[in-house]
Symmetry: C2
Subunit: 93 residues, 2 copies
């Protein structure tokens, strides 16, 4: 029987890669008066619902998806968390 | 004395707002053969380092920053986590 999983994927730029968007946001925050902000890095946060036969299969598929489409392995790192969706959660939407 | 904080901010579209980028990614994953993917929503993940006098001050500032610049409250929700940066972590980069 297949099981439904809720996946949270975090894609971040590798530390060696410049982040001009982050720098722009940092400068915007400074202009708004937030002087304490020292560094800003902007990444992607992806919520994904999928069905798979078991958790190890789901993790393997997610790894593949990240490498092939969701992240650019040359300049980005990714990590993800998986939780099982119970029928209760489905009812709550 | 001021303390340094590492903040992780998650900005997501409100559930009632359409996410065309997420739909495009979902369709791309289907074309790559990942039939089990049922929903994809794409948000932002922001890593921010800041100094503040204490944690409640840091949280208050972050709330303001999210409302004013980092998120669009009309169509987006946000949540954040704060951890204290110790000198050890600073040394490790």
């Amino acid at each position: 029987m297949s099981q439904q999983y809720q996946c949270r994927i975090y894609v971040t730029l590798r530390p060696s890669v410049l982040d001009p968007a982050g720098t722009a946001v940092q400068s915007g925050l400074k202009q708004l008066g937030y002087e304490g902000v020292e560094q800003v890095r902007i990444g992607k946060y992806i919520e994904l619902t999928m069905t798979a036969t078991d958790e190890s299969h789901a993790r393997q598929q997610l790894d593949e998806m990240c490498d092939r489409l969701l992240a650019n392995p040359v300049i980005e790192n990714y990590r993800f968390e998986i939780t099982t969706v119970t029928s209760n959660q489905l009812l709550m939407g």
